[in-house]
Subunit: 194 residues, 2 copies
Amino acid sequence: MSRLIPAVIVVVVVILAATIFLAASPVPTPEFPQYTGGHQLLRPADYREWIFLSSGLGMSYSAQAGHEMFTNVFVPQWAYQEFLKSGKWPDKTMFVVEDRGSTSKGSINKAGHYQTDWMGIGVEVKDESHFPEKWAYFNFDEDTKSASANPKAGCWTCHDQHAAVEHVFVQFYPTLKPVAKKFGTYKGAAEEVQ
Amino acid sequence: MSRLIPAVIVVVVVILAATIFLAASPVPTPEFPQYTGGHQLLRPADYREWIFLSSGLGMSYSAQAGHEMFTNVFVPQWAYQEFLKSGKWPDKTMFVVEDRGSTSKGSINKAGHYQTDWMGIGVEVKDESHFPEKWAYFNFDEDTKSASANPKAGCWTCHDQHAAVEHVFVQFYPTLKPVAKKFGTYKGAAEEVQ
């Protein structure tokens, strides 16, 4: 019997260590905001492997449409799972909106639009320890490795006034709307046409 | 010293068990095709957590566009990773094309189109042990829990003739095109307008 005691202790320690390892390592580092020189956001890598929220074509705040681009929106797996459980966005959540060209005729396609070249990304970050106003907005083109946050008037104010859940335009993400409504975090007034 | 021997054995057994568990369980079951009654495909669950390939709006084989829907295409993480390494689709790969309604004016949006309600899904499966012609095609609406494969003339023939990589329209997935080209699996002729 006495021989079993150290064995039991070792098993407990191994299970604890494995639990800590599994709990600590499921989220790859690129799924959190990374900075250089203080508050310069590094361009997120591998966002195409994140969760897709929705896409639009030629969406615009003004009635005059310009060159129509597709916009694809992605959020990291870990933040998406947190949102499903709470209807809230956890600190360190990033969103990427990817701009892509659109074309109509090619191969067997004869009508409508499909996506073509990468045109740039916008990134929205919730990071309370980095930004006194919690949310910050960045843009990256092909040559941008890191970027400073845009001025508050650029994106922050509009997201603050018109987004349905915190600073996020959940009114345009049909799979997330019922989640936010269930948890009471959805501002229905944001759906009204301005 | 003799007390340590059982402890060491237990540790080894625990580590082996943990390794087997981790090695055996990385791919969730819903990411493989599941059947009922022989070859009736069960509707894939959680495909919105798969890898997003691209989306289109109102894409059509005929020049006469009807009601414009968005189409979002998803593939399981494990199959996507295999494709990145080989430019080929592994056996048991599934693709989901999700149809969603589109609207233009709502909230702050004044031009262009964004996605709304779920309208149904189409599923493409590569499963050599289930289908003598390797690939099969299914449709699901809100009430469909399982579905039989569509007749060969419905989808199979067109995919066989016009898809750029095996039966898959990689010509419409801009992030996958360069991968297939690198591995020499891309049929460039599929890009020509028919």
